[in-house]
């Protein structure tokens, strides 16, 4: 048997009729952060509930790190309290009669029998919960509540952490506050996570793998880059103008005089607005296809800061005047949204050498984030 670099850690197959809605999904993914991504009503939360054991599937199985939590055929159904699967609910669900500290310790006190990897003090520090410890949940803001819920679930020493749209109930500003906490939690602890979301930004920033869900079914499963780069999944991964490429790049140097950061993408160098990270740090960039232009020769006399040389891998004609061109730029793939007229005028063809042009200002900090480890 061949040693697998990323063995399956989450193995799920579920079937269940919920009124007129039929859930029938199966996927297997390695650790890291797996996003359950799809529109509202696709069945994402039902899948998450079934994994955690608060919704019983009619058949299928749930295996985490080889431990069977549910197996319809073998009559195994481990109750939720014995699964060791942490759950961060959309609405936090903090216990109103307990202080923040007692909330945080609730799972910790009930986690005997599992290896302890998250100690109280470091988690409080990581999520900046110190000043909140003596308070009651009702005296917290929405963002603070979600941070406490996150800490509480993590301190339960779960073998899997499910985050069910933890940002959905927050306004835009609060989301921006919580996202960095999620990123540092992901990077500080090796616990596999399932992240339920219908927001592409969150998924791109956090996830390593994506399970694309629509109408109670799994449409596709794979690494984030792959899923969001596949033209055939566009209908599920975003509207035409949201089409993007996800690429991982390495910080090379900072240019403080210009407030820019240089990153290496394969052999090429891109500049992005200053991003605080040490040289060598892996960053994940989301490059919107509509922000990418194509040229036959390097436009050295233009203002464009990102010039990537590559070869055309695929041309997809779209509805209306649009066409998407996939360019292989040495280790990464970048989509460009251009007009069909341009494809014709430039006589673009698969295999042709081409320059991809990305404006630096198109890569603002909302589209740049630390890449997940591994």
């Amino acid at each position: 048997m061949r040693a697998d670099a990323s063995p399956t850690r989450i193995d799920v197959a579920l079937r269940r009729q919920l009124g007129a809605f039929r859930l029938d999904v199966a996927f297997a993914v390695p650790g890291g952060v797996t996003a359950l991504f799809g529109p509202s009503g696709a069945g994402k939360t039902s899948i998450a509930h079934a994994i955690a054991g608060i919704l019983a599937p009619s058949s299928g199985h749930v295996r985490i790190d080889g431990v069977t939590m549910f197996d319809g055929a073998r009559g195994i159904d481990v109750p939720a309290h014995a699964r060791g699967i942490g759950y961060v609910f959309q609405d936090a669900r903090l216990f109103p009669h307990l202080t923040v500290e007692r909330n945080l310790r609730f799972g910790l006190e009930r986690s005997r029998g599992r290896p302890h990897y998250a100690a109280f003090a470091p988690v409080v520090e990581l999520l900046a919960l110190g000043p909140l410890l003596a308070r009651r949940p009702r005296a917290l803001s929405g963002g603070e509540r979600q941070r406490v819920a996150l800490g509480r679930a993590l301190l339960g020493q779960p073998r899997l952490l499910i985050l069910d749209e933890p940002l959905a109930s927050l306004d835009e500003g609060r989301k921006g506050e919580i996202l960095p906490y999620l990123t540092s939690l992901r990077d500080a602890y090796a616990v596999p996570m399932v992240y339920v979301s219908h927001t592409i930004d969150e998924v791109v920033r956090l996830a390593t793998h994506v399970v694309l869900v629509a109408e109670g079914r799994v449409v596709a499963t794979g690494p984030v880059h792959e899923i969001f780069s596949r033209a055939d999944l566009r209908a599920h991964t975003g509207r035409r103008f949201e089409a993007s490429s996800i690429v991982d790049a390495t910080v090379v140097a900072h240019r403080p005089e210009w407030m820019l950061t240089e990153v290496a993408l394969g052999d090429a160098t891109l500049t992005v607005p200053a991003f605080e990270a040490a040289p060598g740090t892996r960053l994940r960039l989301r490059i919107r296809a509509r922000e990418v232009a194509l040229a036959h020769s390097e436009p050295v006399d233009s203002s464009i800061g990102g010039r990537l040389s590559g070869r055309i891998a695929e041309i997809v004609l779209r509805d209306g005047p649009y066409a998407e061109v996939l360019v292989d730029v040495g280790g990464a793939s970048v989509w460009a949204l251009v007009t069909r007229y341009s494809v014709d005028r430039m006589a673009l063809a698969v295999g042709m050498p081409i320059w991809c042009l990305v404006k630096t200002v198109a890569l603002d900090n909302r589209l740049v984030s630390p890449a997940p480890p591994g």
Binding site: G53, I54, H81, G84, Y87, F95, R138, G156
Partner: protein, 232 residues
């Protein structure tokens, strides 16, 4: 100040209401939980049975108590023969009558409180490793405390005033089963007893107002303890 007769009536009433409330509380909590959170065959029937004392004339309830707990009743006979407990014509019997009469009120209040507890919090407790009993003890029970409190207060108040089932089941024995309402009734039946009745009625009034104030203060305190009331 109060006369010995008045003190005796007050003491008996307080004793009856206290014993009735404390003894029926665990049963009321269990039953309210079952009715609120479980679905089982006979659910509707059990619900109807619990509510019987509320819709039946109290005298009828007293009559059934006589049948079941009387000296020759199946339960009354067994209690007397094995445990030496006599309920008929005794203060304990008065407490039983009060408990039965106020039971539906107590169950209703507690059931409403359980239904107001978000089941999502119980789910959250389970995903944090709490077993069902643990979940009930550490999440559900504290959150339904206001309901338990109001159920107990209502039952206590009803117990203080219970008349029909009590007089039918344990009669009206001075110093044994003559509680406050029975003493008032007796006074009104006695020639020249208007003054005595008036004083007893005043006592009943004072008791009711004191209880109301105490329960309000207690409720506020409980709300704050479980994190619902205003922060201090």
């Amino acid at each position: 100040m109060l006369t010995p007769v008045e003190i005796e009536a007050l003491r008996l009433s307080l004793y009856v209401a206290t014993i009735a409330t404390i003894a029926s509380l665990p049963f009321a909590i269990a039953l309210a939980y079952a009715l609120a959170r479980r679905r089982f065959p006979g659910h509707a029937l059990l619900n109807a049975f619990v509510h019987m004392p509320l819709v039946l004339p109290p005298v009828v309830v007293g009559y059934f108590l006589l049948l079941m707990f009387g000296a020759r009743g199946p339960i009354g006979h067994w209690l007397d023969a094995t445990l030496g407990i006599r309920l008929i014509f005794t203060l304990k019997g008065a407490a039983l009558a009060s408990a039965v009469m106020s039971f539906p009120l107590m169950v209703r209040a507690i059931r409403l409180a359980i239904e107001a507890v978000d089941p999502g919090l119980e789910e959250a407790a389970q995903t944090l490793g709490a077993r069902p009993v643990d979940t009930f003890r550490s999440v559900t029970l504290p959150l339904m405390l206001p309901g338990i409190l109001s159920g107990a207060v209502v039952a206590f108040a009803a117990g203080l005033g219970e008349f029909g089932a009590t007089i039918t089941f344990v009669s009206n024995i001075e110093g044994e089963t003559r509680t406050l309402p029975l003493a008032i009734f007796t006074a009104t039946q006695t020639p020249g007893g208007e003054a005595v009745a008036g004083r007893l009625v005043a006592i009943a009034f004072g008791l009711a107002i004191a209880m109301l104030l105490a329960s309000e203060a207690l409720a506020r305190r409980v709300e704050r303890v479980i994190g619902r009331g205003p922060e201090r």
